[in-house]
Amino acid sequence: MQLSSPLVRRRSRNLETEGRSAMASSHSTRKASIPKAAAHKASILKALCAAFALLFVVAHPAAAQLSFKPTAEAVQEDKLLNALKEGDKITGRITIPDAMAASLIQPAGRDWRDFHRSKLPIIGGVAIIGMLALLAIFLMVRGRIRVDHGFSGTKILRFASLERFTHWLTASCFIVLALSGLNISFGRILILPLCGAQAFATMSTYAKFAHDYLAFPFMLGLVIMFLIWIKDNIPGKIDLQWLRQGGGILANGKRPPAKRFNAGQKGIFWMVIVGGALMSVSGWFLLFPYIPANVTTMQFWTVIHAVIAMLFIAGILAHIYIGTVGMEGAFEAMGTGEVDLNWAKEHHSLWVEEEQAKGHAPSGSTPRAVPAE
């Protein structure tokens, strides 16, 4: 600071003079007063230390209470998790490339775990076992759906080689995916006690590999299936008529008209396409876990994957039933590709007429008398 006033400068010089004289005076007596000064400084230092210690003891708990409560209750995990609201997370700072590892505690993870441990087995059990029970009851009550007029012996091409290839490609992958997926949800409960930990671990490892890699030909099959069958699976008014008559499968008698695919088959087609698409998208996030932005997104897609899978499996069980045990003459459509003309007329009368008009099918059938019972 500059002192510009003459009065101030003079006063300043006086102060400097007084200061120098005082320093000279103290310098002359320094040797005599050193022991006394050191003792004085030591006492001041002790007082300062005591003051700081007192300040630390008094102030530290108060500051600590502002940030957290280090009591026995505060460190209990349940109370900590319950204190966190939906969507809250306790995160840390990490330097490894896996950004999701920064989430240390996430309460939503408990809900996700509970879902997989308690709700998912119920959903899967009700869907799959319930469907099997329904099909068994239906078979017992209705019996196998026969060809009312018997087999004619005349064949008509139902599915070409590419269609059957696509069907079996998708179906074979689906069966492995379903079994290996069910092993993830139920294997620990149902299979582990039967074969032991070592065998179960080995089997589950290979099942997981199969699940991961067969997902790709499955997705390819879905795409081809969609492209080659979409034109025959557009819902129309005739499907309403088919549905109103229950497909004619509830009792023997008149069958409702249908084109290449009836309403039931169209339902299966769209279930496979939509369900397969959801399984593919959700499965893609599980195959490549760094794609989801965070753990919550990952958990969401695992739930979607698991629930759709259970419903998908239940729906396909119905499809397998009606294509094999449930309906006489149906399996040949995907087995050899050719079906009996009478079977085709009963279940897809309009399609047979179209094929006959194109010259792809014989114009008449040879009805065989139903044997008397």
Partner: protein, 51 residues
């Protein structure tokens, strides 16, 4: 039957092909999700290393 077997064969070949491609273009998780300082030199036969 030929079509069915062809579909099975194709599925198996496609799965193996995909596994080779993915294992070629991707790093194992113990290398992809760790830094050099934390990377295990020989992960061995455990959950984070090759089986």
């Amino acid at each position: 039957m030929k079509v069915f077997l062809a579909a099975l064969l194709f599925a198996a070949v496609a799965a193996v092909g995909v596994s080779i491609v993915l294992n070629t273009i991707q790093q194992p998780s113990y290398a992809a999700f760790t830094t050099g300082g934390a990377r295990v030199g020989d992960p061995g036969n455990n959950l984070i290393g090759p089986g």
